[in-house]
Symmetry: C2
Subunit: 114 residues, 2 copies
């Protein structure tokens, strides 16, 4: 019975970069096409500007998203998924499918207990 470290299954790092309340959703929105700041804000209406920029910066620091500034005349900033971000998104697909398949049942179970 060897001692198990929290990192033994590789999930630690993954949750570290995608674990927040919004990051997975942002990555999902960004992974198909580049998105502008204001566009993301509209697509995730419940997020505050602070959280959005904070999450984007963290994901940028983790190498998941690429940030490109266009020095144009309405200034424009585009966020897109890097290849690392794409690979993470791919890895999240089975989890998303699981959620789609079983999420409703779990919600129902919780509602019944409460």
């Amino acid at each position: 019975m060897a001692k198990t470290q929290p990192e033994s299954c590789g999930l630690g790092p993954a949750f570290q970069v995608i674990g927040g309340k919004w990051k997975a959703l942002i990555l999902w929105l960004v992974h198909t096409e580049p998105r502008r700041f204001g566009e993301l804000k509209r697509l995730v209406p419940d997020i505050s500007e602070k959280m959005l920029i904070q999450q984007l910066r963290e994901m940028e620091a983790d190498g998941l998203v690429h940030r490109e500034v266009f020095h144009e005349v309405p200034p424009r900033v585009e966020y897109s998924a890097t290849s690392l971000g794409q690979s993470l998104d791919d890895a999240l697909v089975p989890l998303a499918n699981w959620g789609k398949a079983h999420g409703a049942a779990i919600e129902a179970r919780k509602a019944k207990v409460a």
Copy 2:
């Protein structure tokens, strides 16, 4: 727990049930063979008893783990993964692999910036 967010993908429910700091690890430990409370405590040395029991109860309520009490003379309780828990564990494998593949690189990047 925070309010449910826009569910363009099924990740919301999934993160709801394994989102914590310990749940994924506990599920991972429990998914191969039944584990006793004290055994889990030893396997995850940094967790407090309170957190362990709390997470186990939540996962039980979510239908991920099965709890079986043996009315024996040293009292014994065994936790094992349900089929739902197994399916979630399967869905987490790609994410774990991603973490194993890229976790070190991300840590290194962060260390360099700091």
